[in-house]
């Protein structure tokens, strides 16, 4: 029966019946706008009505709030057109009708007067104006409401007039109906609100209120206002929920007590019927349980939602409802039989799903499975727990206790009802097998759906529970697939606890399946899992260890990944360079972090080595040193293998880049350069689904297989304690080359744990070394001239020094090896040193070496003496004994030290090579020696200056100067001391007077010799020191004498007044032979003369030379020939003024040979050699010559251009000209006495 608003009909029933059909049809045809109270939006509404005959009982009694049965409109029908009839009967009837309405307070009525032509015709006699009856009725009943009386004309005729009147009638009816709705519903709502506000009062009952508000909902539903109806139920829902929550917070309402009663029925939701009257009655009676109320409420909501075409909201709300109910029951502390709720939830889920399936087609369902999948999963979950509860899934079958529980649960389901979902209803009643199948199907369905909507994690969780189910059923292979899939996702996302749990399940599964290798692998992982208790870990560890015992019959070994068992954390080389010579001991220390909970005895730890023959390795030490890129300690960074954040693995290993340079083989020029990635094999690895990098369960045996046959590092019988362990290997170092550690393998019984790649790669290098001999000074610097100790170091390399092997040193004159009585050699062996025997012949010194094993160091010291080269004598190159050209030690000045350095080369023949080894030693000469010739008139003196430039203090003794050629010459020493202290950085000057009998040779070849020794050493330590030098043109040729003559009449010169300078040049000797030829020319008169140039120069500006300052003198080449020159000079200052300088130079006519004058400039530059000018500044001197318009031009450009044709000036050698007035002074008086002296004092 469909509810429609009730409209009562009074009056002429026959008339109404004739019109009923068209009325009922036409009323809902046009929508009406319904304006609502409380600001609700207006709605367009199609009105329908249930027309019933008016009875007084229909009118609601006072206090009856039922709305469904409420007549919203009362209609009085009449077709009376006769005034009499109206007055007699109709009016009365109407009056009665009106009265009864009024007594019940109903103001919603309308009187319809039907007019037909027939009636008009029939009653022609009593015709009144048509309006009159209507007017009468209006005046009688509708005193102010004229619209309460409506005329319907010719209703059964098909005319426009009839249609018009129908339309106006329908409009009127609709308007009135809506008015009535608004009024009555508004009143009802107000009452309802009032009732709701009373909810804090003690006697208030939710059930009563529920009924009231539901009435409103019914009306809205009746009016097809489902949205509004749903709102009513939602409000009720919210109100109830709030009360339950308040209860939880301690605010109890009395009426809630009825809902706290123990749950007796758990038959699930019932959604087939629009209104579950059974439950509604229960609510009305206040006997409903919480589940009943919730079920009823939801069934109503569901009905409305389906009306509203929103089935997916049903599923969503259903899930919330089910969760909510469970929580509410818990909150209200309602006692529920164990499993009852599971039953209720399970059945409810299926009911909802069923209901939804009923109203949607398959395609819609599939497209919206995201809405239903939650329910599927929930149902699965509940069924699972039910199955467990009732013992249906255990392999032994249910126990009696389980059966009792099942019976109890079934009792709560109530009677079997055919309209409930058949399959699900049967489920709980069927035996274990079918429930399992059902559950399986359910799980698969849920899983598929989760997959379809992309909720993979949810799908895996369902899969996991399915796996548990399969495990119980004994279908372990299927179980393992599901578990592995789940595990993969947990591992890849780094959820350690689920990983551990799932892995444990897998372990169980694998054990039962007999997959030994996988099981051991998993066990190893679990044994190292910190999430497990120590006992569990020990258990799994034991599983591995005992595997040996029960599988010893089978010969096959099981290979597992090392990462689960132990982690290689560090690798250290001893020595740290990781580079040794062949045959030496190299130790490799591994630090293994054992993940096992107990100490594990390992039969063998082995590391396989890849060997590369290194051809460059034999070239010696230097090459080995270059390539020490591998540090002694390699740290291995471990990603957490089993659990923890996979950040490291997610990010992947970092790139390891290296520079490569491609050089052309011919000329070593760079062809190309680039960057290579060294670990592409790690980075470019495929991240495919079946072997994620960090899932050790998936390690396939071929990849971890140990490569046999390669060189191995092995250690037997190691005990690995939990945590870090240090294992020391002795690495093979036989052949030179590069050894790369590739794999690591630990053997425990039949189980091998293999680390397939040691990464980053670890290498060590074995090199072969050539013997090397080096010589270095024992103390720096080596001083020439003194015996010095030098250290010979022999690195034997691969060569073993045999008995009788000797080093052959070629002797040289410049650096003899001093024989020493005891010379010991030290080897790097701790054994004591042994005495070396040294035998010297004139050519060769032979040092016989003690037997020394390879790769040892042999050290010995020899005393050598480097003879200081005494001068500039350079004998021709001579050949050494071995035929090599002897390299003369060449002295040079070293930038780091003021001492002059001499490189001494030694040539040594070694027994291991056919080639001689050339070694160089650098010696330093401790002295710098200078000599000079001093003159006093004709007398000559030789001064030698010895400067000690070393850091050592010396004693100088037996200082001697000898002349080689002239025996008649006597060198008289003016040195008083026998021995002289020569401190570091100090000088000693020695002086000799040269005496000769008849003639002084122009050239002297002198040898200065002295003995020296470091300070405080005895006489025997004195070593000779020689210094050769040559003096040329020693004889004094000219003497120059200058006089200053005061002005006439004055006794002294006065400043500013001219005075005379008289220069007197006297020839002292007869010309020597060479001189004659060289520079003289014969005048026409046969007199030999030579030309001299004199020059007066005063660099200190004391004097002004007036007139000619220089001039040419032609000197006769005879003794005592004298030339006087008068020059006017003027003193510029008063005081004792030094004489102006007077220079005498040789003037060479242009014919004279150029050969004497190698450098055109040197005549001026070498002025400094002149005795006269020693203190003068060269440049200043030159400038003065220029400024005074000297006869010769010193413009270098001029001279060079003119070349040899120019006459030249040549200075005399020191000692050839003696200046008597050198450094003389003359008193010059001031010009006047009234000088003002300015004194400034500050």
């Amino acid at each position: 029966m469909e509810n429609k608003p009730i409209v009562t009909c009074a009056g002429d029933q026959g008339l109404f019946t004739s019109l009923y059909t068209s009325l009922a049809q036409q009323l809902p045809r046009e929508p009406m706008e319904w304006r609502r109270t409380y600001g609700r939006a207006p709605k367009m509404i199609h009105l329908e009505a249930n027309f019933v005959q008016f009875k007084e009982e229909l009118l609601p009694k006072e206090g009856n709030k039922a709305l469904l049965t409420f007549p919203f409109l009362h209609i009085y029908w009449t077709d009376c057109c006769d005034t009499e009839a109206y007055k007699s009967t109709v009016k009365e009837d109407m009056m009665r009708w009106q009265n009864s309405l009024r007594t019940h307070g109903s103001a919603d009525w309308v009187i319809i007067v039907v007019e037909t032509n027939d009636t008009k015709k029939k009653n022609k006699t009593n015709i009144l104006p048509r309006s009159s009856i209507v007017d009468k009725i209006r005046s009688d009943f509708c005193n102010k409401q004229n619209d309460r009386c409506v005329v319907l004309s010719d209703p059964l005729k098909d005319s426009s007039r009839s249609q018009e009147s129908w339309n106006s009638l329908l409009l009127k009816l609709r308007t009135l109906l809506l008015m009535s709705f608004t009024k009555n519903l508004g009143r009802f709502e107000d009452d309802m609100r009032t009732l709701r506000e009373k909810r804090t009062q003690p006697g208030w009952s939710f059930c009563e209120y529920f009924m009231v508000q539901e009435e409103l909902a019914f009306v809205f539903e009746m009016l097809q206002q489902f949205e509004d109806a749903l709102v009513q139920y939602d409000e009720l829902d919210a109100l109830f929920t709030q009360y339950v929550l308040n209860f939880g917070a301690g605010d109890t309402a009395n009426w809630l007590g009825s809902f706290c009663a123990p749950v007796r029925s758990w038959s699930g939701l019932l959604l087939r019927r629009p209104i579950d009257m059974e439950k509604r009655d229960g609510i009305q009676r206040g006997e409903a349980s919480l589940l009943d109320l919730r079920s009823y409420l939801f069934s109503r909501q569901c009905t409305l939602l389906i009306f509203l075409q929103r089935p997916w909201e049903v599923t969503q709300r259903a899930l919330e409802l089910l969760h909510n109910c469970v929580q509410e029951l818990r909150l209200l502390e309602v006692s529920v039989l164990e499993g009852a709720l599971d039953c209720w939830v399970f059945l409810s889920c299926l009911e909802v799903l069923h209901r939804i399936e009923g109203c949607c087609d398959q395609a819609q369902l599939a497209a919206n499975c995201s809405h239903t999948v939650g329910l599927w999963a929930y149902a699965t979950d509940k069924l699972k727990s039910l199955g467990e509860l009732c013992g249906l899934v255990s392999e032994k079958g249910p126990t009696s206790e389980d059966l009792n529980r099942t019976v109890d649960l079934l009792a709560g389901l109530g009677d079997e009802r055919p309209e409930t979902g058949e399959s699900c209803w049967l489920v709980l009643r069927t035996p274990a097998l079918s429930i399992n199948d059902f559950k399986k199907e359910l799980s698969h369905a849920a899983m598929e759906m989760y997959r379809a909507i992309g909720r993979l994690r949810s799908a895996r969780l369902v899969g996991k529970s399915l796996a548990e189910f399969y495990m119980r059923k004994g279908d372990r292979e299927r179980a393992e697939t599901f578990l592995q899939e789940a595990l993969k996702s947990y591992v890849s996302e780094g959820w350690s606890l689920p990983v551990t749990h799932t892995r444990k399940q897998i372990a169980e599964c694998q054990k039962l399946l007999g997959r030994t290798e996988d099981y051991l692998q998993t066990s190893a992982l679990l044994a190292g899992d910190v999430n497990l208790t120590t006992e569990e870990r020990k258990h799994f560890c034991q599983e591995i260890l005992t595997f040996f015992s029960f599988s010893s019959s089978t010969a096959n070994k099981v290979t597992l990944s090392m990462g689960v068992f132990a982690q290689l954390t560090r690798l250290q080389f001893h020595p740290a360079t990781a580079s040794v010579h062949s045959g030496a001991i190299l130790q490799v220390e591994l630090t293994l972090r054992c993940l096992m909970p107990v100490s594990v005895h390992i039969q063998q730890v082995a590391a396989s080595i890849h060997f590369d023959v290194d051809h460059g390795g034999t070239h010696g030490r230097s090459k080995g040193a270059q390539r020490q890129t591998n540090p002694g300690t390699v740290e291995f960074i471990q990603g957490n293998s089993s659990a923890g954040p996979p950040s490291s693995s997610a990010a992947g290993p970092s790139l390891e880049l290296d520079e490569i340079q491609d050089r052309s083989p011919s000329d070593n020029s760079l062809n190309s350069t680039g960057v290579v990635c060294k670990n592409t094999h790690l980075i470019m690895r495929r991240h495919d689904s079946n072997s994620p990098p960090d899932t050790p369960n998936c390690v396939s045996p071929p990849t971890v297989a140990m490569k046999e046959g390669a060189q191995m590092l092995k250690v037997q019988d190691v005990k690995l304690e939990p945590g870090n362990n240090s294992i020391i290997f002795t690495a093979p170092s036989g052949q030179p080359g590069t050894y790369t550690l590739r794999q690591l393998c630990a053997t425990v019984g039949q189980v091998q744990f293999v680390l397939p790649h040691i990464y980053p790669s670890v290498q060590y290098e074995v090199y072969s070394q050539e013997p090397q001999l080096t010589v270095e000074p024992l103390s720096e610097p080596l001083l020439a001239g003194l015996p010095q100790m030098v250290k010979f170091t022999l690195l034997t390399g691969h060569y073993a020094v045999k008995k009788g092997d000797a080093l052959q040193l070629s002797n040289t004159d410049t650096m003899p090896i001093l024989p020493s009585t005891s010379c010991t050699a030290r080897t790097s062996n701790p054994a004591a040193g042994c005495v070396l025997s040294i035998q010297s012949s004139d050519k060769v010194t032979s040092i016989s070496l003690p037997p020394t094993p390879p790769y040892h160091t042999l050290e010995f010291q020899l005393e050598v003496l480097c003879i200081i080269p005494s001068g500039s004598d350079r004998p021709a190159n001579e050949r050494l004994t071995n035929g090599e050209v002897r390299h003369r030690p060449r002295s040079y000045s070293h930038p780091d030290t003021p001492m002059t350095a001499i490189d001494q080369r030694m040539s040594i023949d070694c027994p291991w090579s056919i080639y001689s080894t050339l070694l160089a030693l650098t010696f330093y000469i401790p002295f710098k020696t200078k000599h000079s010739l001093l003159s006093a008139g004709n007398r000559k003196y030789i001064q030698v200056c010895v400067q000690n430039v070393s850091d050592v203090n010396f004693t100088l003794a037996e200082v001697k100067l000898t002349e080689k050629q002239h025996a008649s010459l006597e060198l008289q020493s003016l040195n008083t001391k026998e021995q002289q202290l020569l401190c570091s950085k100090h000088s000693v000057f020695c002086l000799w007077e040269v005496r000769w009998k008849d003639d002084l040779p122009s050239c002297l070849q002198c040898v200065f010799s002295a003995n020296f020794s470091p300070l405080n050493q005895d006489v025997s330590a004195f070593k000779p020191f020689h210094y050769q030098f040559q003096l040329e043109r020693v004889t004094t040729l000219y003497s120059v004498r200058a006089e200053i003559l005061p002005p006439a009449g004055e006794q002294h010169c006065r400043s500013g007044f001219l005075c005379g300078l008289e220069v007197c040049i006297t020839r002292l000797t007869e010309p020597a032979e060479g001189e004659m030829a060289e520079e003289s020319k014969t005048d026409t008169d046969g007199l030999k003369t030579t030309k001299l140039m004199y020059e007066v120069a005063d660099s200190s500006s004391n004097w002004a030379v007036c007139g000619k300052s220089s001039g040419m003198v032609s000197m006769p080449m005879t003794a005592n020939a004298t030339h006087k020159v008068q020059i006017e000079v003027m003193p510029l200052f008063a005081g004792h003024l030094p004489f102006p300088k007077i220079k005498v130079l040789k003037y060479l006519p242009h014919t004279a040979a150029v050969a004497i004058q190698p450098d055109p400039d040197s005549c001026v530059e070498n002025d400094s050699l002149s005795l006269l000018d020693k203190t003068l500044d060269d440049q200043g001197d030159t400038a003065s010559i220029r400024s005074r318009g000297s006869v010769h031009s010193v413009g270098s450009g001029d001279q060079q251009q003119k070349g040899v044709a120019m006459p030249r000036l040549e200075p005399f050698s020191p000692g050839q000209v003696f200046n008597h007035s050198h450094a003389r002074q003359v008193l010059v008086l001031p010009a006047t006495d009234d000088h003002i002296m300015e004194v400034n004092a500050t």
């Binding site: 089910l322 929580q327 999963a377 950040s647």
Partner: protein, 109 residues
């Protein structure tokens, strides 16, 4: 009522996870992990919708009858991330954060 608080990295591994009834820890881990499905769905939905109407509250993540889950404690998390010594991506080991989480659990539980 907070029984379990988890902070998940964007790569879906747990940065921090703690639950109050420790005996049920495993279940919570499973639950939180599974709820990532919904988180992923919601986050990708945000990306599709207009502009940045970022709803930080993710709503019901996992249908469970036992607990409702929600997300909060963003401020504390921000503090942790601002720690210069914290390397984003590492698991959270901050005492302060732990304290705040404990507080949230105690006051309701």
């Amino acid at each position: 009522m907070a029984v379990c608080i988890a902070v998940i990295a964007k790569e879906n591994y747990p940065l921090y996870i703690r639950s109050v009834p420790t005996q049920n820890e495993l279940k919570f881990h499973y639950t939180v992990h599974t709820s990532l499905d919904v988180v992923e769905e919601k986050i990708s939905a945000v990306g599709k919708s207009l502009g940045d109407q970022r709803e930080l509250y993710l709503g019901l993540l996992y249908p469970t009858e036992d607990y409702k889950m929600f997300r909060k404690l963003h401020n504390s998390f921000t503090d942790v991330m601002c720690n210069p010594f914290h390397n984003p991506g590492d698991t959270i080991q901050s005492k302060a954060f732990d304290g705040i989480v404990s507080g949230m659990m105690v006051q309701t539980g």
